[in-house]
Symmetry: C2
């Protein structure tokens, strides 16, 4: 087989795997949005079958042969060509996929299913002791997984590679440390700063219409996406031309639903901005969870909370919810959306304190993975860090170390991508603003195309051409640095 044929076959295999995964994606979306309750068992069988078929293709030994042919050919002479990127990344994925022994993969799936069920029950009963053995087991398997992958420096890196390829603990730790040192006093300073609260009734149907209308104005059109009500907000990428957003609204609070719309629309823009021509290959895939989150956070925090944005949209909002807003100024409205208050629950945290929730989890999961902390000692360690960084102590484990599902599902080294997203988003927005801004002025005129075009050019269209830190550096002209986030938070909140 000549290199051209081998490359074409490699791309075909990759696309097939992606299409199979996209079928599973639709099934998953449907399970959350539409499926009747008793369809769950069959859905599990469908998902299991599709996952198995996708995995077969990901680990097909034919890939090794094809890769070897192409890697030694002139097709990969230019390291930034689509061919080179695809071959490099497919090699990366294949090597990782084939490094895990089948026994371990099955054991992890089995434990994850049982452990997340044990977690849900234990959390409801506030019974950490019932969850504790599952947590030890999960971290034990995570160590085995990391060892199977291999690593240069610390075990954690081997796991982080699944979510944020190219990132290491050696880069993360000082970045997070620097951020924490600046955030703790900022949170302290904001603790006693009063923020107005806007009270009133925001009928959900009207919130939906309004929020969806705003997303349409930003460029999320009905021919390539849809909105649904779901059990929690999420964005689901089914395939080119089909990205779906699920949302949840609260009748007593406008901002939670609205900010979720902005957040998920940011995720959607990234997926819709990938190059359709490269669908199903690394060149047409999102680069990392951190970059994905940077896109959602950018639209949520740097567009959706901005004064310019509300100069454009607030008059309409005020008309729509005149009962609640007729006497509320735009300034009061925005301030009420930007309340900062240390709380126990990560998913309810404001923009400033959120990162401290993540840093706590990062420190704890690193200790659990290294064996410096056992599950038994987690609740105490959790309480200590919450007291130390946020000045509050959870009264129980339900609102403490059992609040998140991630660890129970075996997702170790996932949390940092949230804060990486926040760090990247500040830096990326600042660069976009400097290149094509002042963006506030575009927003005030209801124009969002300049920002989207800049993002498409600098971020979306590159797929996995560069690793995340490289991509950020190329887009912004500087290495990833939390200083942009701190500067923005300080400027906006102090």
């Amino acid at each position: 087989m000549n290199p051209d044929q081998a490359y074409a076959e490699l791309i075909r295999l990759s696309r097939t795997e992606s299409i199979l995964s996209s079928c599973a994606q639709l099934l998953q979306w449907d399970a959350e949005i539409n499926m009747p309750r008793r369809g769950v068992e069959h859905r599990g069988q469908q998902m299991g079958l599709l996952a198995g078929l996708a995995h077969e293709r990901a680990t097909d030994p034919l890939r090794e042969e094809l890769l070897t042919v192409v890697e030694q050919s002139p097709l990969v002479a230019d390291p930034e060509s689509a061919e080179s990127v695809n071959v490099r990344e497919l090699r990366h994925d294949y090597d990782r996929a084939t490094k895990l022994p089948r026994d371990l993969v099955e054991e992890m799936a089995r434990v994850s299913a049982m452990s997340s069920q044990a977690w849900a029950e234990a959390r409801d009963k506030n019974d950490f002791a019932a969850f504790e053995p599952w947590l030890d087991k999960t971290f034990d398997l995570a160590r085995q997984k990391a060892d199977a992958f291999g690593y240069d420096d610390v075990r954690y890196d081997a796991l982080l590679e699944d979510f944020e390829p190219g990132m290491t603990a050696a880069q993360l730790t000082p970045m997070f440390e620097k951020l924490r040192v600046e955030l703790v006093p900022l949170v302290d300073a904001l603790r006693d700063k009063p923020a107005p609260q806007v009270k009133g009734e925001f009928p959900i149907e009207r919130q939906r219409e309004l929020s969806e209308g705003i997303a349409r104005t930003l460029g999320f059109t009905a021919d390539t996406g849809r909105f649904d009500l779901g059990p929690h907000p999420f964005c689901s990428f089914i395939g080119p031309g089909d990205v779906r957003i699920a949302l949840r609204y609260r009748a007593d609070d406008f901002s939670s639903g609205f900010l979720a719309v902005m957040h998920e629309t940011g995720h959607a823009f990234y997926e819709l901005g990938l190059d359709d021509e490269h669908y199903g290959t690394p060149m047409g895939s999102a680069v990392s969870l951190g970059i994905h989150e940077s896109q959602s956070r950018l639209w949520e925090n740097y567009v959706g909370r901005s004064p310019g944005f509300w100069r454009h949209f607030y008059p309409g909002l005020q008309r729509e919810f005149s009962d609640a807003l007729s006497t509320v100024t735009i300034d009061t409205f925005r301030k009420s959306m930007n309340r900062v208050e240390p709380g126990l629950i990560r998913v309810e945290a404001d923009e400033v304190t959120y990162n401290l929730h993540i840093i706590i989890r990062y420190e704890l999961e690193r200790a659990l993975l290294d064996g410096n902390l056992t599950a038994r000692d987690l609740p105490d360690a959790w309480r200590q860090l919450y007291q130390q960084y946020l000045g509050i102590t959870p009264p129980d484990d339900k609102t403490g170390c059992m609040q998140d599902i991630h660890w129970s599902e075996g997702l170790i080294a996932y949390f940092p991508t949230y804060t990486l997203g926040n760090i990247y988003s500040a830096q990326i927005f600042a660069a976009a603003d400097s290149d094509v801004g002042p963006l506030e002025e575009s927003f005030a005129k209801g124009e969002f195309a300049p920002l989207r075009e800049w993002l498409r050019e600098k971020i979306y269209r590159h797929g996995r051409r560069y690793k995340a830190p490289q991509l950020v550096e190329r887009a912004t002209g500087g290495a990833a640095d939390s200083k942009h986030l701190v500067a923005s938070l300080t400027q906006r909140y102090m």
Copy 2:
């Protein structure tokens, strides 16, 4: 491999094929109900991939080996055991699936896609000449397909086997002939019999609530199914515990939406009544399209149009739509639902004339397949038969021989299953009524479990254990005969 292992492997292959097809089923449902417009191309790729994977499993040569081992073993000693039925039917399916040359399968898929597009355009422009070559090509391919399958008597049988296994033209022709001879004078006699028309406004949201509420009362529960608005009414079987009904309502007419709910609920009950334990094998599959249609027609025509049913539901309906119905008696309401009027369009036809539409198509598609009629002569032949059987002549081909999509998609020998469904439904309902009736009295009390239980016992749970004619004979005590349909129509309409 011993017979037990071979049988287990055979079942595993069959289930896998079914689960893959069920994923495609969900994708198809989603394409009609939810998919954003621009998702269509990717959806085609997903469907194509899944169809290919299911086909690979259906034609896996391993099946031949496994079947051979089991067929010679004591596992199939009792011909009515689940094992025997599964082996017999899997052999049937495998032999058929492997008889078609790959070239022919691909050519049929290609022509079907283009032909149905040509049909849609030609119909819109009322330009039969543009569709004519596609129709010839389609029947030419159907002849090749029939010859590849092989047949004992006439080519038509080889195609009919796809939709109504075990049925032959030799059985159909006299059954349809006898029916036609009785229906033509019945339609004539009803032609000038006036039926009242109920006019008024039936707000769609309230129709939905009411119709869905009725289906719930019949036993279609939210934990195993859902309703959606769709471009046309259909029932989609996703898997055990997940059956979905799509509906369309008209604000100026209650009965069209309501009868569709009853019809699709009948289909749903059949799927939900199959034995979950046998999911993905012949023992857990519907036996034929004719039997499927008999279940939808039974609930539509023998339950939903019955006086007992409306004794129970009419008072509520009258309250709900008091503007339109307060002065309409139950008798007038029922009569308005049961109008008989020869018309040009099959899908709008009433219960009595409907079968003449089908018989016309049966006669014409047999002549087209035999080569006794060419596409060029179809419009004339169509007009002649409509005049002869229904006493009306279509003014153009758009409302004449181009009204249905079926032939353009290569569905030849599909139409008869509609009238078989009507014939079976009358016979099956009469038997149920005689066994556990009078069912009218149950309906009047809002009790539908006796009918459903009888159907489960006599029809649903057998899957493909018996061929359709045998199943009908065992359930009703007599061979399939159109006399029950004629008797019921005469009794109800004259």
